[in-house]
Symmetry: D2
Subunit: 330 residues, 4 copies
Amino acid sequence: MAGANAYARMTLVNLLARHLGVELAQLTSRSFAGQPYRAVFPLLELDGTFGMEPAATEADVVFSCLPHNVGAANAGRWLQAGVRLIDMSADFRLKDPALYPRWYRQDHPAPELLQQAVLGLPELHAGELVDARLVAVPGCHSTAAILGLAPAVAAGLVGGDVVVDSKTGVSGAGRSPSLGVHFSEVSEAVHAYSIGGHRHAPEVMQELGALANGALPRITLVTHLVPMIRGILVTCYFDLVGSLDELHDAYVEFYSGHPFTKVLDSTPTSKLTSYSNLCLVNVAAQGSKAVVTAAIDNLVKGASGQGVECFNIAFGFSRTEGLEGPLQWP
Amino acid sequence: MAGANAYARMTLVNLLARHLGVELAQLTSRSFAGQPYRAVFPLLELDGTFGMEPAATEADVVFSCLPHNVGAANAGRWLQAGVRLIDMSADFRLKDPALYPRWYRQDHPAPELLQQAVLGLPELHAGELVDARLVAVPGCHSTAAILGLAPAVAAGLVGGDVVVDSKTGVSGAGRSPSLGVHFSEVSEAVHAYSIGGHRHAPEVMQELGALANGALPRITLVTHLVPMIRGILVTCYFDLVGSLDELHDAYVEFYSGHPFTKVLDSTPTSKLTSYSNLCLVNVAAQGSKAVVTAAIDNLVKGASGQGVECFNIAFGFSRTEGLEGPLQWP
Amino acid sequence: MAGANAYARMTLVNLLARHLGVELAQLTSRSFAGQPYRAVFPLLELDGTFGMEPAATEADVVFSCLPHNVGAANAGRWLQAGVRLIDMSADFRLKDPALYPRWYRQDHPAPELLQQAVLGLPELHAGELVDARLVAVPGCHSTAAILGLAPAVAAGLVGGDVVVDSKTGVSGAGRSPSLGVHFSEVSEAVHAYSIGGHRHAPEVMQELGALANGALPRITLVTHLVPMIRGILVTCYFDLVGSLDELHDAYVEFYSGHPFTKVLDSTPTSKLTSYSNLCLVNVAAQGSKAVVTAAIDNLVKGASGQGVECFNIAFGFSRTEGLEGPLQWP
Amino acid sequence: MAGANAYARMTLVNLLARHLGVELAQLTSRSFAGQPYRAVFPLLELDGTFGMEPAATEADVVFSCLPHNVGAANAGRWLQAGVRLIDMSADFRLKDPALYPRWYRQDHPAPELLQQAVLGLPELHAGELVDARLVAVPGCHSTAAILGLAPAVAAGLVGGDVVVDSKTGVSGAGRSPSLGVHFSEVSEAVHAYSIGGHRHAPEVMQELGALANGALPRITLVTHLVPMIRGILVTCYFDLVGSLDELHDAYVEFYSGHPFTKVLDSTPTSKLTSYSNLCLVNVAAQGSKAVVTAAIDNLVKGASGQGVECFNIAFGFSRTEGLEGPLQWP
């Protein structure tokens, strides 16, 4: 494994290492190639040495954390070899190949695979995930925003347009050093970024558009960096169609039977989800404006935990296997 | 001085102590009465002893940080004695006495004074502040929200309704201990509060309503607690009427000549305003939705610094007296 | 359960809830009496209602988190009823009853029980913990300091006196609100406290004295508060007797076979132990001065995790039962 | 100006910009050469453009923040041109040229200048600083450790050896991005570094050795990184010679007349010095071990503020010019 967000990758290795149904066949990393796993994960009891490139011949499944496009270029080969793929990158999240040049500045290297990819959001796609061969785990802001809005959109309870104000911790920016993640710059500070448009926005529109049957309201998504390591809180604003009770009931019903997404009676702090695969949602209003807040841990439900959840569904494990454990607080 | 937010009060004493035109006649505090100033402000070279109640007979001006209603009950007496009043509380911010029972659960103790009070927001009321005898310094969220929206509202460039998503540091909650400001609860966490309606909302509506000439759009204001000590960032969303350039120009023109509010070309981090009286504003858009961000230090421009700024105007000092100093970074 | 550090108590409930060999018979709390468990632990699937006082008749073991002296007053009754006791308080940590008036300002309520109590530090007392009926889990600073020094003291490799400089996160101060845990006071700050002498010091001296066979060097322990939630790092300084290699080998040998205390080749960050029962130790020197650093999570190995570890030994479970799980990072 | 710690450099420009006796002739920076000052310091009203190399012909004084050795190579030329030099680097701090290869891995480029350099620590060298032509401002850990120990050493009140445990905020590591200053690594963590020996140690030994008249006790200095932006707290341990009162009096007398170093009755939090040039010292004991704590802001008294203080003395300004201002809290 390599690429994008090294924190999500580290979290994934930790989750898989305790998963009773998983045997880690091979970890790969260009930067760590040749080093023993224990040099990188000193506290996991893992034997083996990092490989250079994912061979994937003897494995049943590849969890790919490769950078955008790199994994996509390999995906066809893996699938043909009978290996299933849980892709943590953005490569297969968007169905419409025309969106890639616009948001990722490159044509998609394997557009023919886009239609068979299943978006790895179990609350929306649990059925398709069973026996899925190519799973595209959505982004962290997308996961929070979609889970914060899906029941309202599906029930036709959204009037006017939608504003999603997302606040994320710093680990979402990955582990590569830069001024933007420097402690002395980021601590004691909050700021907006990607105001013109965040790459996770088209994922939100695709998914909510499908639920809206073509009547998707306009969505504005602005992301903010908050001085904490983990966590995302999205605050979603839209005009209330019908009563607040009706809205609340739509959420309870939508998430009924889903083990990780819970509708709370009070607005969640992001911290209540830290180190867990939970998504906590609250439905409220200010006058005629619905205000829905949703919180996740960006590295777990917003990345690796959700990847494992999808894997569990795809391979017939209990959906919570490897993902249980007490809430860590504070 | 006593009451509400002890951090704002401490900041005020520090600002006044270095103000060349100010001689501190008397500090009062029920909790510190009888103690020397130096016991509470060990690093200021202040001689004197805290009094119990503000006598205000030998002073030209009272800076009142008393709790809501307590100061209002004294205000008439002070004004009759020829003492001018800079009130840091919410007591005289709202013109309409009917709003007090609704937002503060009490009738106003001196409604006859409401009309002569000038809201202490120099960017809107500099003219009235000259020779003002009763100044009501607005709240921290209000200051940020009003400064983030006033030029757009005044220029008629706001289409549809407005969402204001405000993120504040913990010092805004004051210095009294509670679980809500406990380090282990607040650190590594973000959450929304007062979703149903924040007390600063009517201040925002009153001020923007006046600028809108009765055509005020609906405003939704939701406040969030962010794990940092100082700073507020508001993100304001509204449908763009006209072009982004037009909107930007309206902001530049509106704040031209105002020393502390600056229109930046990029979105500000709250930290750039820390320990200063600055308000930094950026005007941007996502598609047809205008996204204006505004940052202040909640204890300075959001409280004490603005109080001193109003005092400077009211007493004919340079508007920046006592408020200059280099930017503190990081 | 009630008392002292509510964060340690919350952590304990979480650990026991996932322990395969534990059935929670009754939680008690004066403040929560009558409330369902789920109101306090919304994310644990626990059925039941908080009791007022620990009855302890139908249980095999009581985990007591009662305040100092309150638990001790009940202990005799519980033990006579055949219930074993894991006490998280300081009540049974010191063998010498004369120390209680000095450090806790009260005579001990049940001095006759002191000799049968086993100090709950498995690295030193694993043998006695088997079948122990009364276990006194040591303090968080004590655990880190003892584990940082025990091998050197036992091997006679300490020359001159010892300085232990301990740095702790804020959760060690418990959950009760006070100015000392207020975010705006504690954030961006470090300070020493209890310079004259910390209550955990006599625990350290008792345990190291026993290992030193009466030749215990003088120990100075100063504690510091660091702006983080979890974690303790102790830096231990003493004159090196023999070589650094010899010292290092003494540590490796001493902790051989102990699953949670590991000797690292580089100095640990406290964070590497967060949310785990690990104690990570590094042995180094600056010239002729040995510098040993030891890190723990103050709420886990420094409190509840160690309590569960002792329980596992006392009741014949695997020592790591309920305490495994991947390292959470960051 | 360029080099080492960009935060110290930024702080210096801010301090000089408000200094009434200073006209900034030229700022230089290889990375910013050709850019206007306002691009880098948007909130200072500075006109001009960064130069490439310090010409220093038209200036009375150069504040050099160049990397180690780079400034030293220029120093002779500047001094010959009649320009005085306040050097923020380590180049001229050590009198003994033999120490440079050991601690900085290079021979000193201008050893003939070492004897005329005055260490820029006014509490020890105020007399020599008057008319000094070459001032070497000491390191941040050195400043805190020397100020924490000097009175005891000078009065012969130190028995046995000395342990200095120093805790610093992250800004001391400078502004260059690296994993070691990454928010997600550094937040919620404390660790020791440079256990084998920190470069500031020889500065401490040189200065205290001079005060000790050759009877300098052995000193062990270990530095720790604490999750805060600003501040250093050193905890100094040594055996008490004489009484605690005697020790306390020695400190009060030593710092009498020095405006920035104050002896407090209680142990200081580092934060009380933030954004100021203060050094706050407390003298206490645990049994027969003296425990002296000293706190500074690493970027002000530990770097730029002290440089300005030295400049004030050298050029006959009031020692506090440009350095006053209210305490910023929280």
